[in-house]
């Protein structure tokens, strides 16, 4: 039980709650104790030793991140002894980290530089120790640069404990200690401990938790910058649903402020000719996916697919999995290729949106697809990998040319000295501008499921299998009275796995939402219990994505999440199939033969 106690901090009497750490209590009282290895989402490791403070009666200094306050504690955070140790430990850490400041996207938000500045640290007291360390690159998405690593181990924690992918390993000890991918394990005699094969799923959580960007996205901003300079193509930017509620944090906004108009304005200011909202693509995805779901349910009930002898699950049937999270797709392709037939064949919003830009919109604008360059701004590192998938090419063209993270966009905005908070908000370009509220909640765990359910329920109630069908007058009257639900509260929220039983028409329909790949096990172990499963690899969905602003913590994610649902609640239209322009686009594709398949659907392959 927490109780009220009295402590003394730097000569000042303070009353506070027991059970908190010195660092927390100090922060609440305006004394900021610096620290690098501490992260609100993880258990305390206390290995950087920067947050040390002096306690009366204690022989040694103590780490404030790990020491709880107790009654009568006398703490000093500002003695010469504290300063000596704190500064020395910072200097020692600096010598582990090769400064690549000129091209580092954390340059404007760097924990180390801030510390050096605040505490007047000599950053060159010791010679760089790790200059010969390797850079490990994972596809085109994520990298870990050993020469910048300060050994805090957050990345290992993110990969192994949070995401349970077990791809990163801490090898060696002392000064030889290094974070390495497990594929580099060769030459090690493992007695009785053959570990399972693992691979990176590109979720980028390691990057999100790295305090010094040793783990980070593979940056592509410089390529985009070049393209913006030479202007040889029509430059189109498209941004994901979750960016608008997170980007403001980097510019001093409160958590969860909606910045849609500022994002459009900033992208225009950077030199993009057109800026599209991926929300439109999300509406397309919702409809394509809901149609597939309805189709699978029908087939399943007709008894068409037969259960596989091996897994007991229905080939091609139910449960159907969502597919818009590219890290989840990589997970299936690598760890569970047997589940590939269960993935919806709908492409993701990013690829739908880009595909439509390079076909439908290109034709409308009379621009050759080859002359359009699409740059995505995503909350995600795995989206970089998705954009490079060959099977997504449309008639020889990549749908997305470059894919940047939220952090890369922030870097470009700051580098170009654009005063983001002062920008006059602009609407995204039409005809791909308007979108439903169902689209924006794609950014939160449970959002894809909810959007698809809104449309699937409508399809069930009106007994259709496509949103594109046009109605007779009598039918129109009937659909008017169709009162399909909008809110599916049971799939919202921050729980690790959300389960619900709904009615779809007159049939029971069982769904699960897996919030973070680390929680996947229970869903995969009980496939037969579900008809439809959403999986997002990052905690709380894209708002906690690996490309989002740093820091991202549970509390910050909650604010971003609430903001998304507020946008939805305020939207004029709430269901994807009510987005007339989006339905129009789908109808257009129906007349285009092969192209429909090329733009709307995809396939997956086993990877080893």
């Amino acid at each position: 039980m927490s109780k009220k106690i009295k402590i003394n901090l730097n000569g000042k009497g303070i009353s506070c709650q027991s059970g908190k750490t010195i660092m927390q209590v100090a922060r609440e009282n305006g004394v900021i104790i610096p620290g690098l290895c501490q992260h609100d989402d993880f258990p305390v490791k206390a290995n950087c030793r920067i947050c040390v403070v002096e306690i009366s009666g204690c022989k040694n200094l103590v780490t404030s991140c790990s020491t709880e306050v107790c009654d009568g504690l006398i703490i000093r955070t500002d003695t010469a002894r504290v300063k000596r140790s704190r500064n020395l430990n910072i200097e020692l850490i600096f010598a582990e980290h090769i400064e690549r400041c000129p091209t580092c996207i954390r340059r404007f938000n760097c924990a180390l530089l801030e510390l050096a500045d605040k505490h007047k640290i000599e950053i060159t007291t010791f010679k760089d120790r790790k200059s010969k360390r390797k850079i490990y690159k994972f596809a085109n998405a994520v990298e870990i640069d050993g020469s910048q690593c300060i050994d805090c181990r957050n990345c290992v924690e993110a990969c192994n404990t949070l995401q349970k992918i077990n791809y990163l390993e801490l090898r060696g000890k002392g000064i030889t200690q290094e974070v390495v991918p497990v594929t580099e394990r060769d030459g090690f005699a493992l007695i009785n401990k053959r570990k399972k094969k693992s691979d990176c799923i590109y979720c980028g959580q390691c990057a999100l938790y790295c305090p010094v960007s040793a783990a980070q996205e593979q940056a592509h901003w410089s390529l985009v910058e070049k393209a913006l300079k030479n202007k040889s193509k029509i430059l189109v930017a498209q941004f994901a649903p979750s960016i608008r509620v997170s980007i403001g944090e980097e510019f001093g906004a409160k958590g969860g402020e909606v910045m849609t108009g500022q994002v459009v304005a900033a992208l225009k200011k950077l030199g993009f000719n057109y800026v599209f909202d991926v929300n439109f693509g999300a509406d397309i995805t919702t409809m394509v996916e809901a149609e597939e779901l309805i189709g699978r349910m029908k087939e399943f009930r007709l008894g068409l697919p037969s259960p596989s002898l091996k897994t007991g699950v229905m080939e091609n049937g139910l449960p159907m999995f969502t597919s818009c999270c590219p890290a989840w797709i990589k997970y299936v392709e690598f760890f569970r290729p047997d589940l590939i037939p269960k993935l919806t064949t709908a492409r993701s919003p990013q690829i739908h949106s880009a595909g439509i830009i390079k076909t439908y919109w290109a034709e409308k604008m009379k621009i050759k697809p080859k002359n359009i360059m699409v740059v995505s701004i995503m909350p995600c590192t795995a989206k970089k990998f998705e954009a490079s998938r060959r099977e997504l090419k449309i008639g020889g063209n990549w749908p997305v040319d470059y894919c940047l993270t939220t952090r890369e966009l922030v870097y470009l905005i700051k580098k170009n000295r654009i005063d983001f908070m002062d920008l006059k908000p602009l609407p995204a370009d039409n005809p791909l501008g308007a979108a439903s509220g169902a689209a924006v909640i794609y950014g939160a765990s449970g959002g894809v499921m909810e959007s698809a359910l809104r449309t699937a329920e409508y399809l069930t109630q009106t007994a259709q299998d496509s949103v594109c069908r046009s109605f007779t007058k009598a039918e129109k009257l009937k659909t008017k009275f169709c009162n399909s639900r909008i809110k599916f509260k049971e799939v919202r929220g921050l729980a690790g796995v959300k389960r619900a039983e709904l009615m779809m028409g007159d049939k029971k329909f069982r769904v699960a939402v897996v919030n973070g790949i680390g929680n996947i096990k229970s869903a995969l172990d009980n496939l037969r219990d579900y008809d439809y499963i959403e999986v997002m690899a990052c905690p709380d969905g894209c708002i906690g994505g690996g490309g989002q602003p740093i820091p991202t913590t549970a509390a910050i994610r909650k604010k971003r999440l609430e903001a998304l649902y507020k946008i939805d609640a305020k939207s004029k239209i709430r269901r994807a199939h009510d987005n007339k322009e989006a339905v129009e686009v789908l109808r257009w594709f129906k007349t285009k033969g092969k192209l429909e398949n090329q733009v709307l659907y995809t396939k997956y392959k086993k990877r080893s």
Partner: protein
């Protein structure tokens, strides 16, 4: 059953692993943790630490060689006292090789299991919470404390970790044979290297004289650890031996002190687990400065103080002891001698 705890208390037993913590206090802490009704019923474990990872130290091996049955008896007393689920005999590689057969016979039909210390776990692999990590199959390095092993040790359960010699003493206390002796590990520049069982109250000088190892040449000793001990000059020997009970004799004429210190630093660089900045980075920089042509002694001393003040575990702070005590106790004497010559 509480009798044994009373006996231990009366005998004033201290842990012989090096830290010298009161055995009765440690046992009481485990008992209290087990009695804590708020947490509910928990299992309990007992671990006998025979990692003996500091080079040059051999007394635990000596005890296993000569008094294995007493050690096992002590371990069994602890298991019975705490109603422990299991006892682990944590052996380093070479002790396991030498004594496995004998020990296996002694622990037959008991709740004791031998756990062999993984080869690459080194010196820090003998630290008590690192031992627990090893048994649990985790990365072998000290854990963040609190919680201490007595309240949350193996798999989160209250766990008693005592040294080989401590368990030996417990069995002596139990049978009324304990007479306040301890094992001394004498090594270095002396004629009769070896392990001796002598009264714990002996001073260093008396111990050396008794074993006919008192040098006739100029010397200094490292006491209480062959790497992590305290360096004392020949006028400071009227005190008892602390820590792990070792005395290593260095002839001043024979040894180059720069080499000795560099050797200590090399050892600790290799043995640091790498968790915390002051130890992982700090010791590496200490060596860099020490070997530099123009050493920055202010920085060197700051790094040492920082290590003592902020290291994660006792290994880090123990690095400071030999170096600082050498600088204080031995170096001035050496310099005075070389001036006089």
């Amino acid at each position: 059953m509480d009798k044994i705890l009373d006996k231990i208390r009366k005998a004033n037993l201290v842990g012989r692993g090096g830290a010298g913590f009161s055995v009765a206090k440690k046992w009481s802490a485990v008992a209290e943790a087990l009695a804590d009704k708020e947490v509910g019923g928990r299992k309990c474990y007992v671990v006998c630490n025979a990692a003996e990872g500091e080079p040059g130290l051999t007394k635990d091996g000596y005890i296993l060689e000569n008094y294995a049955e007493k050690v096992i008896a002590g371990l069994k007393i602890a298991i019975d006292f705490f109603l422990a689920e299991k006892g682990y005999l944590f052996l380093n590689y070479s002790y396991n090789k030498k004594y496995n057969k004998k020990l296996a016979a002694l622990i037959k039909d008991s709740a004791i299991e031998i756990f062999v210390k993984p080869i690459q776990s080194g010196y820090v692999g003998g630290e008590e919470s690192a031992v627990l990590n090893a048994i649990e199959g985790k990365r072998i390095e000290p854990r963040l404390k609190p919680p201490f092993p007595v309240t949350a040790g193996l798999w989160g359960c209250p766990t008693l970790v005592n040294n080989v010699e401590t368990f030996y003493n417990i069995s002596l206390v139990n049978s009324g044979q304990y007479d306040n002796k301890r094992f001394y590990d004498i090594a270095g520049d002396c004629p009769y290297e070896g392990v001796y069982e002598l009264p714990a109250s002996f001073t260093i000088e008396k111990t050396l004289k008794q074993t006919k190892n008192y040098p006739s040449f100029h010397f200094f000793v490292l006491v209480g650890g062959d790497m992590s001990g305290e360096a004392l000059n020949s006028r400071q020997l009227k005190r008892p031996v602390e820590g792990a009970g070792s005395i290593t004799i260095y002839s001043l004429a024979k040894n180059n002190y720069k080499k000795i210190i560099a050797g200590w630093l090399d050892f600790f660089i290799d043995e640091s687990c790498g968790q915390c900045t002051p130890c992982r980075e700090g010791i590496y920089r200490l060596r860099e400065i020490f070997l530099a042509e123009k050493a920055d002694w202010t920085l060197f001393n700051n790094l040492l103080d920082n290590l003592a003040d902020t290291s994660f575990c006792a290994l880090g702070s123990s690095v400071v002891i030999p170096i600082k005590s050498f600088m204080e106790n031995v170096l001035p004497e050496m310099e005075a001698k070389s001036k006089a010559m």
